[in-house]
């Protein structure tokens, strides 16, 4: 996994609550057996006016000019600003893969669905929960004539909107460490092989039917 370094990015404001993972990447794209290439189909049903299928040439498709991702102000955005319960629904990791493939490294919302929140960290995306009031403020700025740019500093847990005041955010110490160092869970877990074996020995006696 890539290490998460401090960067400054453009904020794309997606003003909807309960955005589910099927909206993030519709089911027809889940037939892929790869991890990459989902970016062009991120938010497919909102982003295009025609129906998308895997293998289509997206450059020939009908663009929905009213959808925020297609607004030229937000071209190259790497920070997604969203509303409550972002990422609800199916557990598909294709959702963070699509966001990442498109270029989003940070998602800011008042709340996230659990599995999605977790899946973000596994893929080097930083989901940030902020109070509704602060999110409202960011929406107001991001909706302005000029795109809002924010510096994201994970090490010091600070967002620094250009020309505005810094905003602190919470992140659990373990996830932060993994993001900063680019560590993956499998490598971390395999440092504890002896503990796993010891647990299994104990369980084999307590609950032998789990080991036949």
């Amino acid at each position: 996994m890539q290490k998460f370094e401090t960067f400054t990015g453009i904020v794309c404001p997606l003003d909807r609550s309960n955005v589910d993972t099927d909206a993030i990447i519709p089911k027809q794209f889940l037939k892929s057996i790869k991890r990459s290439g989902f970016g062009p189909n991120l938010f497919d049903e909102w982003r295009y006016l025609d129906h998308g299928e895997p293998g289509m040439d997206n450059s020939n498709r009908l663009i929905n000019r009213d959808f925020v991702l297609n607004d030229p102000r937000y071209a190259g955005a790497s920070i997604l600003l969203a509303r409550e319960n972002f990422g609800c629904g199916s557990s598909r990791e294709h959702a963070p893969w699509a966001l990442l493939d498109y270029g989003f490294r940070v998602i800011i919302a008042p709340s996230f669905a659990d599995i999605f929140f977790n899946n973000c960290f596994k893929n080097g995306i930083l989901p940030i929960r902020l109070e509704e009031r602060i999110v409202d403020g960011l929406f107001a700025q991001a909706n302005g004539p000029d795109a809002l740019r924010i510096e994201v500093d994970l090490a010091s847990q600070q967002l620094r909107p250009e020309g505005g005041e810094g905003i602190g955010f919470e992140v659990d110490a373990f996830s932060k460490h993994c993001l900063l160092e680019g560590l993956d869970d499998i490598g971390l877990t395999l440092q504890h092989v002896a503990d796993i074996r010891a647990y299994e020995e104990r369980r084999r006696v307590e609950a032998p039917w789990l080991f036949h």
């Binding site: 309960n18 892929s32 963070p96 599995i115 869970d185 499998i186 609950a207 036949h212």
Partner: protein, 470 residues
């Protein structure tokens, strides 16, 4: 000793090690695998030159992408076919048991697991699918995971986890006639909202939950995720133990008594503390119908489509307006005046034998309304299908004008050919009514199997309790 919740017991019995920061390495007893969320996990294993830690703890079956008709012709969509073939190859390569598409035991993972006794009380169960909470009905700690975690469980048999908060949802008293597990859980989500359970593990309890069969409890736990909770479960009782007994993967003679002795401890102790408690009265619950694009947008069949003008919260009102526009509905319309184009009886929420029986009771001797373009019945597994056919349920459905299909996820998420066309309205026994869930532009109303069958017969939503009076 401090009294413990069921969640505490399930959690503590699976902690391999705990870190000072509160994260824990949690041991996983069973992983269920399907074709959509596993290819990248297997690819990861191969790339790292790893083998499954305990291949035998994994059980695979294709379900999301399989066709529900003409199985003998194979899968015609080449991309879907590749995905199913990739599962076959991966399972063969890594020594994982798979019930392939032509196996009688194939079906939706969440139907197959309990049916086989592969998911048991007291287990930790995971699957790359959010509806893994279903298995909590057996008194297991079961939750959905992403593909990176699928790979981690394959490689290490563990997950790095943090303990959830606990919520107790009590449904007190007896449910009225015509009120099913589905209505109970939809009513619960109507109370909690779709994010109300976020960060919690939910224990469902109370007389109305205990009165449910294990299958009914699966319906309730299945939808815990629609309340935002990754895991939902019910304490073990005699019904649980009777359900498990004799299933192919259940403990045999030698271990049975020992297993039962442990399972009988799997309930919350008297006086155990929960972070949140919610109580509903079963008698207040009517058959439910969702009207919007989120499972929390639900009303009783006797109700009307809500009016955003009556909603004080402007963000909520806006969401309601958007949902009404998508659903093609007008505020204040009585639910019983909404016509349906299609009907879907199936999915991991409601495709077990009991669900099909409930729908068949309504369908028997009646006809699907001429207005209804298609009414599908999709059993949850090959074994459910076989059982239903032995009971003659297939004949009842076919004579009434329903289509009787092969097992799979089907129109629950429309990855195969079973789907809604734009603007079509469906009475569905599945679990999600999100925009486009059953096909782009499709409009989903979530209901119980009996209510879905009743809608097929009447051509509109109808109170199943009225129908049974006639």
């Amino acid at each position: 000793m401090t009294p413990k919740t069921l969640y505490d017991k399930l959690w503590e019995s699976h902690v391999v090690r705990e870190e000072a920061d509160g994260t824990a390495l949690l041991y996983i007893d069973r992983q269920l695998v399907h074709e959509v969320t596993s290819p990248q996990a297997f690819e990861g294993l191969r790339l790292a030159g790893r083998k499954p830690w305990r291949a035998e703890t994994n059980l695979a079956t294709p379900d999301h992408n399989v066709p529900t008709t003409g199985r003998d012709r194979g899968i015609t969509d080449p991309i879907a076919r590749t995905q199913v073939e990739t599962l076959d190859e991966n399972c063969a390569h890594f020594g994982i048991t798979e019930f392939k598409m032509d196996d009688l035991r194939q079906g939706i993972v969440h139907v197959v697991g309990p049916e086989q006794g592969a998911t048991l009380p007291g287990m930790t169960v995971v699957c790359g699918d959010s509806h893994t909470s279903t298995h909590g009905a057996l008194g297991a700690l079961a939750h959905g995971i992403g593909t990176s975690e699928v790979e981690q469980v394959l490689a290490t048999q563990c997950l790095i986890q943090r303990k959830s908060k606990t919520m107790l949802i009590q449904v007190e008293g007896k449910a009225g006639p015509g009120v099913t597990a589905k209505d109970i859980v939809l009513a619960i989500i109507g109370e909690t909202g779709t994010a109300g359970g976020t960060g919690y593990a939910i224990e469902f309890s109370g007389e109305a939950i205990r009165d449910l069969s294990i299958e009914g409890r699966m319906t309730v736990c299945n939808m815990a995720i629609e309340a935002g909770a990754r895991a939902g479960f019910v304490a073990v009782d005699d019904k649980t133990i009777d359900y498990v007994k004799g299933r192919p993967y259940a403990p045999g003679e030698a271990d049975w008594a020992k297993a039962v002795a442990w399972w009988q401890t799997l309930h919350s102790d008297e006086g155990a503390k929960f972070d949140r408690v919610l109580t509903l009265k079963a008698a207040d619950i009517q058959p439910q119908v969702t009207w919007g694009t989120s499972p929390e947008m639900v009303v009783p069949i006797t109700g009307r489509v809500p009016d955003p003008a009556q909603e004080a919260d402007p963000i909520k009102a806006d969401g309601m307006r958007r949902a009404l526009a998508y659903m093609g509905l007008t505020a204040n319309t009585p639910i019983s005046e909404i016509p349906v184009d299609k009907v879907f009886i199936g999915s991991c929420t409601n495709s077990r034998i009991e669900d099909l029986r409930a729908a068949a009771v309504v369908a028997k001797g009646r006809k699907v309304a001429a207005y209804v373009k298609q009414a599908l019945v999709v059993p949850g597994s090959g074994l459910v299908k076989q059982q239903a056919e032995a009971e003659g349920l297939d004949r009842i459905f076919i004579e009434a004008g329903f289509e009787w299909r092969e097992p799979g996820c089907s129109m629950c998420l429309a990855m195969n050919d079973d789907r809604l066309e734009p603007g079509e309205r469906c009475a569905s026994t599945s679990n999600r009514n999100f925009e486009g869930r059953q096909g782009q532009g499709g409009r989903t109303h979530l209901v119980s199997p009996a209510m879905a069958a009743a809608a097929a017969i009447a051509g509109r939503f109808v109170d199943v309790r009225e129908l049974s009076k006639r």
